[in-house]
Symmetry: C2
Subunit: 122 residues, 2 copies
């Protein structure tokens, strides 16, 4: 009744390396943290949002600027900015009727650079 070989339900094979499994299991970050990490990367996993972030690397921009730069509708951009905002990746300031967005994170640039390194690596 221990966690030794009661895995038949989830995996048809016998446990090959129980010691390794146990060790890795004990070293894994907790479930919630991994879930949050996946959620963060999910935000980066869309071309529109990638483009928005890349644009904001260069300059603070209003929603309309971004829409024109990307050749997309204001609504689509606004929806995606909402996602970026709730992931705390961008911040905004209001100036009259115009809302300016800018990056709000010191890690994104590094993450993107590492990402670019990976995809450029033959």
């Amino acid at each position: 009744m221990t966690s030794n070989s009661s895995h038949k339900d989830s995996c048809s094979c016998n446990v090959i390396h129980q010691d390794r499994v146990d060790r890795v299991k004990s070293k894994m970050p907790n479930e919630e943290k991994l879930y949050d990490l996946a959620d963060l990367f999910k935000v980066f996993g869309d071309t529109t949002r990638i483009k928005i972030i890349c644009a904001l690397f260069e300059a603070e921009m209003c929603v309309c600027d971004i829409a024109v730069t990307l050749g997309m509708s204001q609504s689509a951009i606004s929806h995606q900015l909402r996602v970026l905002k709730s992931a705390r990746l961008v911040k905004y300031r209001r100036d009259g009727k115009i809302v300016y967005y800018s990056l709000d994170d010191e890690h994104v640039k590094n993450i993107f650079d590492q990402g670019f390194s990976h995809i450029s690596h033959i």
Copy 2:
């Protein structure tokens, strides 16, 4: 007929900062690269794959090991390993009927660390 104000189709607003738009546009990485980057992050945007990668940080593992560690079916793991493989994030070696997977990238660890930093940042 220049690119000045012919954007009415994609964005209902007038161009607010044409200079900024032009400058940012010229500095944006090319479309294909951005698409590839999004594809890479899409791979990280799933809890199962995140868990697999975290497990492989600790040790080389066979498919069954991973399945047991994560409490998931062999098939589900195998499908996801395929995704990780085609993103060149994991490599494998065959030893008899057992296939061992391990990480095949020097950037992932950094990307994950930056990601963890972001989500831990209050």
